[in-house]
Every structure is written in structure tokens, then in C-alpha cells.
Symmetry: none
Subunit: 677 residues, 2 copies
């Protein structure tokens, strides 16, 4: 489809990208068509407000256009209401505005979609290197005129005689290369086999080298570890943003995208396959190899990521009864998914436990192994859905809980994904109520106050998940927010940072001069409410598992996932996100799902173990548990020292109220880097 000469011309600043776009296209789509990604969480529903843009009016001779607000469709009722409710002026929502004429648009920094900073390391665990593929060297009887059998039959005889490997089959690629390899190697070849039964590769002479890829497909980030399957060493780790983000920030938006767009599922499927191919390309290049070196891979992801990877419409996971297409592990030819590894490469996908407890959680269990411990360990992976397990040697229960996207910065007035410019850490002086903050991409803590002059890298663009948790906890500790989550009206008398409009309070976290956008960043009553709802859902799920496990207290808590690495366990406990536990027993383990994938890649027996675990673990369906609503409502307030939280006092006292140093949580500069090497 070509564009007509009289189609509107669109110029996007600050990138300067320009081009003709179809009349009637939304600004979001039109910008995407020109290669400019604008943030969008809600997928065009005019509810997240992430895609705000500014229309520049006037003549722009340099660009050869006259730009005008009239060259966009009029503001509709939904957009108007959203903007009024959120105090947005002079901006349009790119998802709502349709192009009708020439335009010059500025995309503010906070609306630009950007590459994220990602966890790149993992844990200490002893893993026996026993991969699904192996190499064997064989000497084959040369072809003779009186032996009518084929070369493949001669190779089979050699494998049976020299390695006791019988009943083999062979992939097309080695069959095609077999005769050349045998003759080039003077009838001696190195054979690579999968599961001792499928010949994947035949190389002339004696050759060493088998490689595999472990991939964790997160809804936000995709991480790939290239491993030497002989030594178990990680040769390269690469990560990138999940390109499906452009189709919907959170999982449910992607389900919706698949439902509303005829090619939506196919598009998201291709996007993730392309991403894995790119990571394979980058990782192998870094190791001086090519993707054809990859003969085996283990892929994990939550259930929706797994369905999209397989090209399966995840629509059934969007509503009750949350039916998976398949819960068993899968062994596939990589090529059948479009993965451009070795033509004979295999892919293993770990099993799922239930509609919202996926292969990624099974991988976390594999890595953290609560079932091998005598104590009662709680393992949580927090995202849009929190996946959690509780138990030990006798029994492990698992569940998912609909925390919603608040912890990922969505539904928060100035929320954003963890990206440079995001406020990730917050301390508030309990007396002066002055904040100190840390911004991703800038090492030093930033003092509040209108006088400070900040370098650009220190200017905030918004608040990410860990920052939101900290600021709400700090506001609670400082008495600005009451145990029930309401802003304390008397606090406004203590500091001008606390303001009220009617009964609705807000706290000024960063003044205009400290932000990249030049507008203040505040924490509102509704932000506190959003965090309360999210943490209550998380806690209610945990509580349910504790009830089913018939225990009043957990012995240890493992926080898995990138988010888990960034939150400060102290603040999490103060908010009541996690149950009572001594702080020393709360541990962030980074990308445990990636670790689990790597374990299953390096040790084929762990794949069977994963299958056993997935069947053995008992799923508790929070959606149908009558207690869940009770627990949820009961968990909305912030906790106080009690029978339920005996350690809370200790946690609070361990932290001098005026402390302005970093807490126990990791920071993006020096994160708890644990590796399997």
C-alpha cells in the first residue's frame, strides 16, 4: 500500500522523523509507522494517559508544513474527561487523536518508549552439567560396492557398536550433509545427538562444542543466556525490552490486542520470535559464534507469554475459567517456531501449573527449590499478576493474585516503567517532610528543595514501582498518610509539600525544577489507594496460601524477578505487602526464572523434575476462594505491630527515622549479582 502525495505529512520531534501518514490514522499508529514508539499501557483505550503529545502550531518552513491543532480530530468526550480529571492541558492523547492534515508533534520525554535497564545476573546453585544434547565421535565403515545400505545405515551401525546407541533417527540437515562429512572426515565424524536419539548434526573428524540458549520471556523484558553445554559456563547474557510492549504494556492489554486486532496474535507471536532471534544473534556474536551454534534451548515465560510464543491466542486466559491451551512441557523443533538457530535445534518449554501460574514460576521453583527445604518458604514473583508459592518438602502450594499494574508504575499519576529518569528510591524526613530521592541513571541522592540546580541526568521523569512503594511507606512512617491510607489533614500544616483539594491530599515529591518535563511530580491520594489495592491483593493471596498450609508465619521469603530485586524488603514489610518475617530471611534473587531456564538447559533431568514439580505443586484458585475477598479487604490498611506482625516493631526500630541511606534492597548500580557459573 503506497501513500498518496496528498496524504498528511507528519513530523515528530525531538527525533525529527517525518513522513506521510494515512489520513484518519491515530497519532500513535502514525508515529509507530514512522519508527517513533510512544508509550502506551492501555493499548489505545484513553485510560493510561502515557501517550501525551504536544501539537506545535504554526508554519515550519524548515519542514515545509503548516501545523495546526485543527489537523487533528476534535477532542472526544473520553479524552476530555481523562484530561480534565488528570489536569492535562495543552496536550493530546496520541491514541485518541486522528491525523487529518500536516502536523508537527513534540513527544515529551516521559511519553517516549525506551529501552530498559535489566537484570543480567543470577544465583549460586550447584548444577550438574548434563544437557539434553551430547557429542560422540564415531568411525564408520566406508561404503563398499557390495554393501547396498545407505551411509546413514552405516552410521547407525557405528553408533550402536561404539556407543550402544540404537534406534536413532536423523534430522534433514545432517542427512543432507552426511555423505560429505563422512568423506571429508575419512569416515570419522562427530555426531551431535538430542536425548540420545535424534541426530542433529554430523561434523567431519573430531570436533568439540555444543551450545544452548536459556530464555526468560518476561512481559517487559526478555533475557537470554548463551551457555556452553560442555562446561555449563555462561558465554553471554543479552536482554532487551519485550517488543510486544508496543501492543500493550501489561498482559491484559495484550490479550485485548489479540482479541481486537485480526492479526494481533500473529503480530505479537512474530515480535517475540524476532526478539529471541535477535538475542541469539547478539549473544552468539559476543561469544564469537553464530546462531547456528545453538542446538538446544529452554524457554520460559508466564502463561500469556508462553501462548504468544507458540502462536496461540491467549484469549482464554483473559477470563474465567482461565483455560490453558496446554499445561504440559513441550519439545519442539526450533524451526517450527521460526527460531533461527541450527536447523536441527530443539526447544523445550517448561510446563505450566495453572492458567496464571506459568512456566516462569515453575522455573523459579526449580531455581529456588522450596520443595527441598524443611522450612516454610514463600516465593513471590511480582508483576501484573503476582505468582507465588508457599511450602517446603511436604507440600508446596501456589497461586496467582491479580495485583494489577500499579507496581509497574501504571495507574499511578506520575508512574512509569523502571527506566532512566524514574525515581526509584525515596526517603522522607519525618520531621521536615523533605524528601531525598534517587533517580535511575544518576548515582547520587538528590535533596529536595527549590534551590537545587540539577544536572539533566538527575531530573526525574516519573516514579517507578520501587519508588512508589518507598514513597508511600515513607509517607506512612512520617505520619503524612494514616494507617487507613488517607492523607492526614494536619500534615498540611507541617509542610507546604502536603496539599489538599477538598479532602483529597497529595505530596510534592519533586518540584518542577527537578523534573525533566518541568512539571512537578506528586503522589496523590489515588496513588496511595492504587498501591493499597495492589499490596492487599498480593497479601491476600499469600494469606490464603498460609491458611491452606495451616501456618501462621513463614520462615523465609524469596523475592524473585527484577522488581523483587529493586524493592526494599523493609518498606515492603512496612506497607504489608509481604507477611511477617525477620528481615535477614527476606532475599531478593533477581531473575530466578532465567536461572531456572538455565538449570533446565544444563541438566535434562531437571526438565523431568520441572514436570514432576508442576504436577505435584497444588494450585489454589484465588478467584473462587471465598476467603480471598475477606483477606483482601482486611489487608487494605497498613499493618501495625501485632500478633500477625511480631517483627514489625523490630523492622521499624532497625531503621533510624532520620536515616537517609539506602536500605537493604538492591540498587541498580550494584545489584545482588548471583550467577550459576
Amino acid at each position: 500500500m503506497g501513500f498518496e502525495h496528498d496524504d498528511p505529512l507528519l513530523v515528530l520531534m525531538p527525533s525529527g522523523r517525518r513522513g506521510r501518514v494515512p489520513t484518519g490514522a491515530s497519532l500513535l499508529e502514525a508515529a509507530r509507522g514512522l519508527g517513533v514508539e510512544i508509550e502506551s499501557i492501555c493499548g489505545g483505550r484513553q485510560t493510561c494517559g502515557k501517550c501525551q503529545v504536544v501539537v506545535e502550531s504554526g508554519r515550519f518552513p524548515k519542514h515545509g508544513i503548516d501545523s495546526s491543532e485543527d489537523h487533528l480530530s476534535a477532542v472526544g468526550e473520553v479524552e476530555r474527561e481523562y484530561c480534565e480529571a488528570h489536569g492535562i492541558r495543552g496536550r493530546r492523547l496520541a491514541c485518541a487523536a486522528q491525523v487529518t492534515g500536516d502536523l508537527l508533534i513534540s513527544v515529551p520525554e516521559e511519553s517516549q518508549a525506551r529501552k530498559q535497564i535489566i537484570a543480567k545476573a543470577a544465583t549460586d546453585r550447584v548444577i550438574t552439567v548434563d544437557p539434553a544434547i551430547r557429542q560422540v565421535y564415531v568411525e564408520v565403515a566406508p561404503a563398499k560396492i557390495d554393501d547396498p545400505r545407505g551411509d546413514w545405515q552405516r552410521l547407525q551401525t557405528a553408533l550402536a557398536d561404539q556407543w550402544k546407541l540404537t534406534d536413532r533417527s536423523i534430522e534433514m540437515e545432517p542427512l543432507r550433509n552426511l555423505q560429505r562429512a563422512l568423506r571429508k572426515g575419512r569416515w570419522a565424524v562427530t555426531v551431535t545427538l538430542w536425548q540420545n536419539r535424534l541426530v542433529q548434526r554430523v561434523e567431519p573428524g573430531y570436533v568439540e562444542g555444543i551450545h544452548g540458549l536459556a530464555v526468560d520471556i518476561g512481559s517487559t523484558t526478555v533475557v537470554a543466556h548463551l551457555c556452553d553445554l560442555r562446561t555449563g559456563a555462561v558465554l553471554a547474557t543479552e536482554s532487551m525490552m519485550n517488543p510486544q510492549v508496543r501492543y500493550g504494556e501489561d498482559l491484559m492489554s495484550r490479550v485485548s490486542y489479540g482479541m481486537s486486532e485480526p492479526q494481533g496474535v500473529e503480530r505479537m507471536h512474530r515480535a517475540i520470535v524476532r526478539a529471541v532471534n535477535e538475542l541469539a544473534e547478539q549473544a552468539t556474536r559476543r561469544a564469537g559464534l553464530t546462531p547456528a551454534a545453538i542446538l538446544d534451548a529452554v524457554l520460559v515465560g508466564n502463561t500469556i507469554m508462553q501462548h504468544l510464543l507458540l502462536g496461540i491466542d491467549p484469549v482464554e486466559l483473559g477470563g474465567t475459567p482461565f483455560a490453558l491451551a496446554t499445561s504440559d512441557p513441550l519439545d519442539l523443533a526450533a524451526r517450527d517456531l521460526g527460531l533461527e538457530f541450527h536447523p536441527s535445534a530443539r526447544v523445550h518449554i517448561l510446563p505450566c501449573i495453572a492458567g496464571h501460574v506459568g512456566a516462569d514460576h515453575v522455573a523459579v521453583l526449580l531455581a529456588e527449590a522450596p520443595h527441598q527445604q524443611d522450612e516454610q518458604r514463600l516465593v513471590i514473583d511480582v508483576g501484573t499478576n503476582a505468582e507465588m508459592s508457599l511450602g517446603g518438602r511436604e507440600k508446596v502450594l501456589c497461586a496467582s493474585s491479580p495485583t494489577g499494574p500499579a507496581f509497574e508504575g501504571a495507574q499511578i499519576t506520575h508512574g512509569q516503567r523502571a527506566a532512566p529518569g524514574a525515581i526509584e528510591r525515596v526517603r522522607i524526613d519525618p520531621v521536615s517532610l523533605e524528601p531525598r530521592t534517587r533517580v535511575i541513571g544518576h548515582e547520587a541522592w538528590i535533596e529536595g528543595g527549590p534551590d537545587a540546580e540539577l544536572p539533566d541526568s538527575a531530573k526525574a521523569t516519573g516514579i517507578c514501582g520501587s519508588g512508589i512503594i518507598e514513597v508511600v511507606a515513607e509517607l506512612f512512617l512520617a505520619g503524612v498518610v494514616r494507617p487507613d491510607g488517607r492523607f492526614e489533614e494536619t500534615a498540611a500544616e507541617r509542610s507546604p509539600r502536603v496539599r489538599f483539594a477538598g479532602r483529597s491530599g497529595e505530596y510534592l515529591l519533586a518540584e518542577a525544577g527537578h523534573t525533566a518535563g518541568g512539571t512537578p511530580i506528586v503522589v496523590t491520594q489515588s496513588d496511595v489507594r492504587a498501591i493499597q489495592l495492589a499490596k492487599a491483593a498480593l497479601y491476600a493471596g499469600i494469606k490464603l496460601l498460609m491458611q491452606h498450609q495451616a501456618i501462621a508465619r513463614v520462615d523465609a521469603i524469596t523475592l524473585a524477578g527484577a522488581f523483587g530485586s529493586y524493592i526494599d524488603p523493609q518498606h515492603a514489610m512496612i506497607l504489608g505487602m509481604i507477611p511477617d518475617c525477620t528481615l535477614e530471611r527476606v532475599q531478593a534473587v533477581g531473575n530466578a526464572a532465567g536461572d531456572g531456564a538455565r538449570i533446565a538447559l544444563l541438566n535434562v533431568g531437571q526438565r523431568a523434575e520441572a514436570e514432576r514439580l508442576a504436577r505435584w505443586a497444588q494450585h489454589v484458585q484465588t478467584a473462587t476462594e471465598p476467603n480471598f475477598q475477606d483477606e483482601f479487604v482486611g489487608a487494605i490498611a497498613f499493618p501495625h505491630a501485632s500478633d500477625e506482625f511480631p517483627h514489625l516493631e523490630e523492622v521499624l526500630s532497625s531503621r533510624p527515622p532520620s536515616s537517609l541511606t539506602a536500605g537493604a534492597g538492591g540498587t541498580r548500580g550494584r545489584r545482588s549479582s548471583r550467577s550459576l557459573s
Copy 2:
């Protein structure tokens, strides 16, 4: 579980199987218990109507029973409604009727599972329709909130419970469609399985229809038969020239092309895959289907065609020791060869016997079954390499013989492939030496002579294989060519058609005015020599097999392949191409390789039989047999009546020398079309 003496006695016609069956068993199960399979797709739900049977009433003293409709349970409401809706009278649904007393039941042909069809081969053969794929209808437990398993796991449970099918795997395509199909069919689906273990397709509700393709890849012609795998019927047959011809007319030229051109093998591979795709497209269109209807295929070809189909360089087959890449049968995903059938379609490739005795010859053996006969039968498939088998029940020997491309019109001065314009039949008046010819594409015989005015369609472009054999035999019979192959110098005095340049003679077969090119078509001394060498190679190979079989005479000769259908056995015998045999026992069977492919498509057990045959048949390597050269030299001259050719006199006398009518061979207008119908 034993049966009581007073259990009902069941007799099933037409098979005559009888035995006691448990009271209350459905007729379907009871018949199965006696080894009689009655069709059923719906699995006893009284919805498919495949299992209709007739109850014979009355006394049957031979069987020792009184049979009565009262010895079956009464017709229930579901059965009554089904029969009324479908106009079924006087029959019962075997799945619904329960045995309560002695019965004699007739199973109409259309209700018999494993229907039998007759292969009209040299020996009529009964083929049981029992394909590699089947359909089953299942009702699946709906997804429920408290069942965390996937839909595929629920389907597996249904397959195990309702059809005793356990340990299934599933292709990507049905996995992607599974959830939609289950919901659209209200949790009832029709599942298509390959080899009872791989789910290829899932369709909502009750559906009927499985189709397959049998393909014979000849070096010149590719033929495809589209079959209904329920009835065994051929729905369409399509053929086309093998597009590899452009890369080399005969097999060895293609091997050379692969060696000399860097992309040669890949190009020939793609060409044949494209050709099979086109035939699939044409055949399915003719049957009102699409290629996606094809779920199974059997492909055969000679060893070089088989290698190129698989994308394997056939270079090793171009020289000693003629090593095959693989001799075993192959089961592949059609997509892995680039075949655009159903995304889950399977392909079976029959085994090879030796470097130049390929899957096509195994298919010929499957169709002609010399191993099931008491007599000594010679089966020949003549091409660039003649593939031949000789033997019977005790032992079948096979060999290939390098006849070269002369029989295909190559290396002949005016030789050409069998195509419109080619002279295919020749008679020469032994007195006047005037020829009569027939040209492909023109019905009438053409008289020689400069005066005749011919329509364009009758103008010759060259001589094809059958024409060359006939003209050489006729020249020999007319005394123009001597028994040693030399032109008889005195023949020039008998007719101006015979001319000499030095000692080298030639015969004017078509004058300039009778040819499309306007230049005369002649048969030269070197053409006669080329035919002598080719027929000597063929005969020497046969002779070697006779020696190994220790027989002086064969009982019957089967000429397989298109070429075999066109040559006149009388002329072949006069030339000494084939050994002595009464003419009535020489039979052309057309595309027997295609028939064999079809047999293996319709009956999965015949694939195992082909593998057994390929291993059981003993290969005689002509290239290393010291006798071969002797026999070859001894076979260069044309034979005369002798101990070796006792029937030659009879053959010669059976044909009045002046006969100008067509001989026993087929003609292209009305070819001996034999079908498996």
C-alpha cells in the same frame, strides 16, 4: 474374561466370522471382539450413521442359529430419530443395538471398516483400506475453574477414555486451533491422528474426510494420485513433466549439474518440490478441495530423484560404490520438505534397495508382488537405468543395469522424448522397404512417400524410444540390418531409402516434407549401435539374475513404467531386449510405481511390508559381476531362434511380415490404463 456357553452366538456376513459374545454388548463391540471392524467415527453416539448393519431373520441351520430382530435391544429414541432423519430403513446402528440373543448380521460394504479394493495389476490384488491416518470424534470435559490442566490435557483424557488412545502428541497447528475448535464444537471435536499417536487436526463437531496423495517422481514425469483415505477412491490423478529436465535430460546429467553448479542441487530440489505442490494444487482443485486437505502422502522415485527430493546431493550415486545417503524409509513432516499440504501433513518415503534400485522399484514390487507367486516372474522398469527383479515366493533378486538414455531417445540422431510429434510406432514393408509411422498426437498411420500431403499434427519432429525400438526391429526383419547390427550393403539396391556413406548405412524414415523441421528424419548405423548397446545392457542384467536364480527361462514378464507400456513386446523380443517368454505372459502394467505408492498410502501395513521387502530382496551388483561383461558382449547381436529363444520363431510367425496394424503394445491414445479402483 471367558464367555459362557449360553452367551449369544453372533455370525457376521460376508466374512462368516462367528463366536459367542457377551449379552448386552453393543453389536459394534461384539463384532470387534470377533475381529470384524465396523466403521464408526462418532464412537457410539449414534450421530455418524457409519455402522449400519442388516439383521437377517430366520433359521440358519448351517450356522446353527435362529436369528431375529428381537435378539437385539429395541430401537431407542436417538436411533429412531437419526434413522428417520436420514431415511434409513431396515437397518440398525451397530453402536446402538445391544445383543440379547443369537444373531446373523450382514455388514454392508459401506459399513465395513478397512474396505477392500482391487488393484488391477498383472495379478489382481486385494488392498485393504487401512491408512496411516484416522478420524475420531470425542466429547471433551469442559474447562473448569478448579481444573488447572490445559485443554490439550483434557483432550488427551477424552482420547484415552473414549478411544483407548494414550501417549499422544500434537502438532503446532491443531494446538493453535484447539481452544477455538473445542468451544465452537461445544466441547465435541473430530480429531485426525497419524499412526494413532500424533494429532494432526482438530475440527469442531462431527466432521468426515481424510485425504492423501501418492506421488511417483519419475525422472521425466511426475504423477500424483489424490485419494479419499476412507473409501480408497482415487479422486484425481494429475501429471506433469519433471521440471528438473531443464537441468539435465537424463539422471547422470542431473548428477553432473549438481556437481558443476554451486546451487544446482538446491535448484533441482526446489524444482521438484514446486512440481509436487503444483500437482497437489491441481488434484485437490479438481476434487473441490485445497492442498490443506492432504494430511498424508507417500512419495516414491528412483534413488537420484529421492535424493533430490530430500535436498541431498546425489553425487555419490554418480560413481562407484554408488553409496546412498539413506536406504531406510523416511517419515517426515511435509513442511520440512517445503510441501504445502496441511501444516501437519506427514510424508512417507519408501525404502531403497541399493544405489540404483530405489523406492520406485520397491513400489513396483509392492504393486506386482512377485514374492507372492509360485512362478518366476521378471519385473523390469526401463529408464536410463533399468531396474529389474526376478523371482518368486522363495527369493527375489534385483539389479540395475546401465542401459543409458538411448531408450529415452537420447544419443539417437533424431531421437527425442515421447512428446507430440515424436514417431512412436513404425512398420516397414519387407519388400518395398516403405515405412508407415504413427506420430504422437495424430491418430492415423502415415504412409511414407514424397507425394503425401500431411496436416501439421502428423508432421514428425523426431523418434521417441518406442519408435526407435520398432524401427530397428523392423529394419532387422526386413533384412536392412544384419544380425550383427551392420546395415546390409545390398539393401541400398532394394530401395533409395537405404543409403551408404562409405560403409556406414542409414535409412530414411521420414522425408523432409513429412517433418515439422523440413529436414529428413533418418536412422543411422550409430543409432542402431546405440540401441544394441542399451538392449545388451538390459539383457545382460536379466541374464545375470537368471543365472543367480539358476533358471533358464522366466515364466512371465512384467513391463513397468510408462516406457514399458508403449513398447511392443513383440519388437522387444525380436531385438533381444527381453528374454524368451510366450507373448501372452508379457504384460505392460503402466505406472506400477505409482500403484505401489498408492497401496502404501491406503494401507499402512504395506509400508512395513515394503521395508521388509526392501531388506529381503537380494541385490545383485552388476557392476562387479565378472559375468556381466561376457553377457553384455554376447547380447549385442540380434537373437535368432535357438535354445535360448525357443519362442522366437512363434513370435515372428505370429506376425505376418506385411502387417501394418498396431502390435500388442499400447498406444498413447488408448493406453492400458489400469487403476486400483
